[in-house]
Structure formats: C-alpha cells, structure tokens
C-alpha cells in the first residue's frame, strides 16, 4: 500500500508539537520534538512492505497548499493523520481537503489521544474513515494489512469506524506492546533532522523511547489513553543500539529520553547509565521523573551518563491540591528531589499547573512561594486543561465548568475552566504574571545564559526564539 503519515500544519501558522500526551506550542520550549511516533510507525509499515512517506509539516514549514500539492503527487491509499486536542479542527480540515482533492480515494485514519477518546464525534465527519484507539503502531500496521487484503475490519483490534449502515463499530481493545523491543528503531532518514533543534544551543536532538505506561492516576493526565497503565520498557541493549545508530548514522548526540516517567524502575535506569558509559557514548540527554523516584545514587548515575537536565511534575505548591489531583506526592518529596538533583549537578525543570478545581488565589500564591523557594533552573506554569480522557474533563462537564467547547482553546496557556471561586480569565492572567516574574528575573536570565550558552551563534539562536516564547506566555 502507498501510505502517507501526516502531521498537518495549522491554518493560523502556530506551530504545535503533537507527540502523544504532549500537545503544546513550539514557543513553550522553543523546540519541535522529533516526531518519534510517526517515524517509528513509518519504519514499521515500511519494514512490512508498504511504501511510506512521512510529512511533518509544522517542522518543515510546509503550508496547507504546499502540503495538498505534494499529497496530490503522492496519491496515497491510506493517510494516517497525527492529531492532538488543540489542533483537531485543523487536522480534520486537512482530512477534508485531502479527501476532496483525491476524489475520495484516500482512506483517512486519525491517531492520537484525542481520537482515542473522541472517536464517536470525529467519525461523524464524513472525511474520517477510521480512528485508532490507543497505542498506534501495530494497529496502523494491522489496519493497512486488512485494507490491502480487504479482510474483515472487525478483526483489527483497537480501531473505531462506521459500518455500511453508519453504525459505530469499536473493535476489541488493543493489548499494549509488552515486548517493546519488537518495535523497530525509528529510521530518522524519513525526515529532515535539521528541523528539530534544542532551544538554547541550537543543536539537533532526537527523542529516544525508553519506556511506556504509567501506573498512576493523576486526574489531569491523559497519557494512559495512549500507553495504558502497565509500565513496559525496552531492553538496555536495544536502547544503546538505537543511541549508537543515531550518533553514527545521523551525527546527533543530543537526546530526550521519551517516557511518561523515565525513572520508574531504578535498576533499569542504573543499568542503562552504566551501559551508556561502557559503550563510550559521548551523549547529552534530558529526561523526566516523578519526584518520589529520586535518590542520590540514581541522580549521580544519570549525571555521569550525560544527563544535564531533569524535569519534574511539581504541579502545585499546595498539599491539598496535590492530594486532590491524586498526584501521590508531598511537598517535602518535591523539595528533596529538586535538591538531590541540583546537588548532583543537574539542571532542574519544574512543570507547574494552576487552575485546578478548588484552586483559590491563596493556593496559587502558595504555589508561587513554594516554586520560588526551590532551586529550579526552568519553570513552566500551565493552566489546568481538561483534556478528553481525563478525570478533570469528566468533572468539568458534570460541574459545568467549561467556558468553551472550541478545542483550539485547549492549550496550556489558556484556561477554559470557570469555577465559582475563581474564573478562567483570572487564572490566565495570574499564569502570565507568574511566567513573566520568573523569566524576567535578571538572576534567572544571567544564570540561564551562563549555564547554556557557549558561543555567539548559540546566543543568536537563543534570541531568535524569544518572540515565540513571549507569544506563548
């Protein structure tokens, strides 16, 4: 089959990162993540005999019309479209245009967390043929095979579609990929790796998937929709091989270890770090972790193996809010984790969310004071977003908190939740103030520059990213 895997652009030229649970503007971090799901999926399909083209339009700066023109030439049999909640309108629009210009010959399949939850509505758009529910790689492969052989679609696990009588069919749920080593290593030659660069030093970087699945049940998180609650990981040998390939074939030495939480299994992390050092890999990488998984031994090990920045989900500086969102961490644990990581020589990033239910001006002020007291290098404040699939979404619907049903507004810098005690507008205003206060502090600016900028061209690249960042704030 002639397959196109497509990441459509936005009509309003905002560049969005769409990678599973991660749905944010390029401006938020000043980078576009290398699209690991798309490329892994493409590699898997190609290895199974399909002709695959990948188009990551936001990254390559391809406009809508350019995209359509090139698709007309490709004339794909199936188009897999990567989607996210805030971009879903544009993703659907892309699907419509493709359908129209290719005389309805292309089969349109949506994947991502949004269609995994919202497939009943999305399938009523007559341009959408299938929605993939959950982890997409093998579902995409089975679906392509089924379409090719014209076999019974009901036997493809993990999809939703409308049958000939316009009746919604949801096939059996797809089992998570237990042996993750079966997934092929992403072949990055599908895309131009030059489009994916780190914000501060402008070096190329790639995502490397280490593990999937998170057993926790935070009320604001939609990650389980994609990867489920069973933690699974790739073997150390496979990850090392992939890192080696990336270094040797693509000359890239910067990585982001992509996982819901990288440090879920301490033994695995220590083994991996050991293997990176033993393999003589001179790489720099970043990762994330829950604060309760942090200890000095692990932090020292990851630092030695090339980690320079670790990100923690701090979420709130008020214990009762942390309890309410079911984060299962304490303020003490947050402080210990940040201190341990800092003292091990790592830069630390904190992700903070304001505007949860029960949030008041006082709890937000608790959060501000708490975050200020931590030795963090980078902080991102987000508005709580009720993404479909989350407990927060259900609560928002039941309590009538939503200010809008326009999915475009479901972005981290916008609050769509009006509570009796605090309104969406105020949450947005406070968030903006908190961001400005943090990043306009001269001390922070100087520290960031000293720690991350080593040559004049870096500084230029860094400055060029400031306007996008300010727009995101």
């Amino acid at each position: 089959m002639n397959i196109l895997i497509l990441n459509p652009p936005q009509r309003d030229n905002i560049i969005m990162v769409k990678e599973g649970r991660c749905m944010q503007r390029k401006g938020a971090w000043g980078y576009i993540m290398s699209p690991i799901t798309i490329v892994t999926m493409g590699t898997l399909l190609r290895n199974n005999g399909h002709i695959v083209t990948i188009k990551d339009c936001p990254a390559s700066g391809t406009s809508f019309s350019e995209m359509l023109a090139s698709i007309a030439l490709i004339a794909p049999d199936i188009v897999y479209i990567n989607t996210s909640t805030p971009t879903i309108d544009d993703d659907i629009y892309a699907a419509k245009c493709i359908k129209k210009q290719n005389n309805h010959s292309a089969i349109i399949v949506l994947f991502g967390i949004h269609p995994s939850c919202q497939y009943p509505t999305l399938l009523t758009e007559n341009c959408v043929d299938f929605c993939i529910i959950g982890e997409p790689e093998y579902t995409a492969l089975d679906l392509a095979a089924s379409i090719k052989l014209k076999s019974n679609l009901n036997s493809v696990a993990g999809i939703a579609f409308l049958d000939n009588s316009e009746k919604l069919v949801v096939t059996t749920a797809r089992e998570p990929i237990i042996n993750m080593d079966n997934l092929p290593m992403p072949d990055w030659s599908f895309i131009d790796t030059g489009n994916y660069r780190l914000p501060l030093n402008n070096e190329k970087f790639l995502l490397v998937n280490t593990n999937r699945g998170c057993p926790y049940r935070c009320t604001f998180c939609n990650a389980y929709v994609y990867y489920g609650r069973t933690p699974r990981r790739r073997s150390v040998a496979t990850i090392i091989q992939e890192l080696k390939n990336n270094v040797e074939l693509f000359g890239i030495t910067n990585f982001m270890f992509w996982a819901e939480e990288f440090i879920l299994d301490k033994k695995f992390v220590l083994e991996l770090c050991h293997a990176i050092i033993n393999a003589g890999l001179s790489i720099k990488w970043v990762c994330n972790s829950r604060v309760d998984a942090v200890d000095p031994e692990t932090m020292t090990a990851i630092r030695r193996a090339g980690c320079w920045n670790i990100a923690f989900g701090i979420e709130s500086g008020n214990q009762s809010i942390l309890n309410m969102i079911n984060k299962k961490i304490t303020l003490d644990q947050i402080r210990h984790a940040v201190s341990i990581a800092k003292n091990a020589g790592l830069q630390v990033t904190g992700h903070v969310i304001i505007g949860f239910p029960n949030e008041t001006r006082e709890t937000i002020s608790n959060t501000e004071q708490f975050v200020k007291s931590l030795a963090l290098d980078f902080v991102q404040y987000y508005c709580a977003i009720p993404y479909p699939g989350t407990q927060l979404y259900t609560d928002a619907i039941n309590n009538n908190w939503l200010t809008t049903t326009d999915w475009r507004q479901f972005e981290h810098n916008i609050s769509v939740l009006n509570y009796p005690q605090i309104k969406a507008k105020e949450i947005m205003k406070i968030r903006r103030q908190l961001m400005l206060k943090w990043y306009l502090s001269p001390k922070k600016v100087i520290n960031t520059l000293i720690n991350n900028i080593s040559q004049p061209s870096d500084l230029f690249a860094f400055i060029s990213k400031i306007p996008g960042f300010l727009r995101w704030i």
């Binding site: 000095p296 299962k328 201190s339 030795a375």
Partner: protein, 236 residues
Amino acid sequence: MDLTVKDSRINWKVTVIVPTLDEEETIAEVLEQVKPYADELIVIDGKSEDRTKLIANEAGVKVVTDNGMGKGSAIRLGLQIASNPIVVFIDADGSHEASDIPKLLAPIRQNQADIVIGSRMTGGSDELFYDAAELIRLTGSMLINLTINYRWNVRLSDTQNGYRAVVRDAGLALNMVENSTTIEQEMVMKALTCGYRVANVPSHEYRRKGGKSKVIVSKVWVKYLLNVIRHLVRQT
C-alpha cells in the same frame, strides 16, 4: 509499587546520633540523658582510642565506627544509617541539654522547619566567653551568621552549633562533602540554597564536662572562611 503518600510529620520518629572521639569521661551520662527522647540511638565513633566504644556498648547502644575523617563524615554517615525521618545530632561532651530535644523537634513536626539548630545566642553559653580564643571564635561565628543572614535573607542567631535536628531526606538531599566541623555551616548554606527552612530554638550550652575539644580556632579559621566564600559564590 508504593503508591501511598507519606504520613504527616506529627508521627515522625527520631534517631539520635552521637558522634564521638575519645569521650570516655562524658559518654555514659550523655547516652543516659538522651535515651528517653530517642526512638533509635546510635553512637558514631571516629576511631576513639579510649574506652568510649566500650562504655557505649555496655550502655546497650548501637556503635558504628566511621572512617575517622572527622565530624563531617560522622554526620553524613549518621544521616545515611538513621532509620527514622528525623535525625538529631548531639555532642558527646555533655555540653548540650538533652531535655531540649523536644524543642528541636517541635518546628519539624509542625512542618515549620526542616533543620532546627539549638541557638547558644538566645539560650546562653557557659563556654563562649572564657578567653581570647573564645572571643575570636564567637566573633568569627557571628560574622558567618551575618553573612548567611544577608546572603539568604534569613535571621538566624546560630548556624554553627552541632546540636540540631534534621529531616533525614533533606540532609541526604544536600550531598554534603565536608569532613570536619565545617559541615555544620555547609549544611545550613546548602539547605538555604535549596529552599529548606532552617530555624533556631534557644538551647543552653554548658561547659564541656570532660575530655578535650578537637576544634582549635587558630588552626581552623581559614577553613571556615574559605568554606563560607565557596558557598557564597556557588550557583546552587
């Protein structure tokens, strides 16, 4: 996988650590006084050559021998081997009032502080005023206090006293490196940098009841000064 949140600080138990080096004259009395306040009591001995370890063993107290590098290494080892969330350090020379332990614990259990140091400035001291060396020591320690207070915008009256209660995880998070008594100010400065809350409570310091002090001001002042400067310029 443990998905539970740790219980509240009110119920936190206490490990008391007594670092020793040749304290045979006072150790028995100190251990006797401390016992009622400790859920766990450990003597960390820096390779004493007198009967200190023997006496502690006889008193039924767990004795661990460290590498003998100094008080700093004893404190770091103490934090590692303590099995309770709060660790209290008390000197073995009898100069500290064991009945002050509840005062040290209160701010931690009430979640108002992570490190609580007994203050000789508000609690008084029998020792600080005897001779010229003590005057220098007092002046130096006041200057260090002032520096810390202005640098980290706190108001502490004593940052040098070894008599202190520490949240174990906080102490471990600091990754302290000092081997000697400079660890006491290292702990305060690193803790403040990391955003931990440091507090003082009044505690009276008695005159050393026996044995000899191992801190000779004329030999160590440079070390203290350099240590403060290093932390002042440290980024984090």
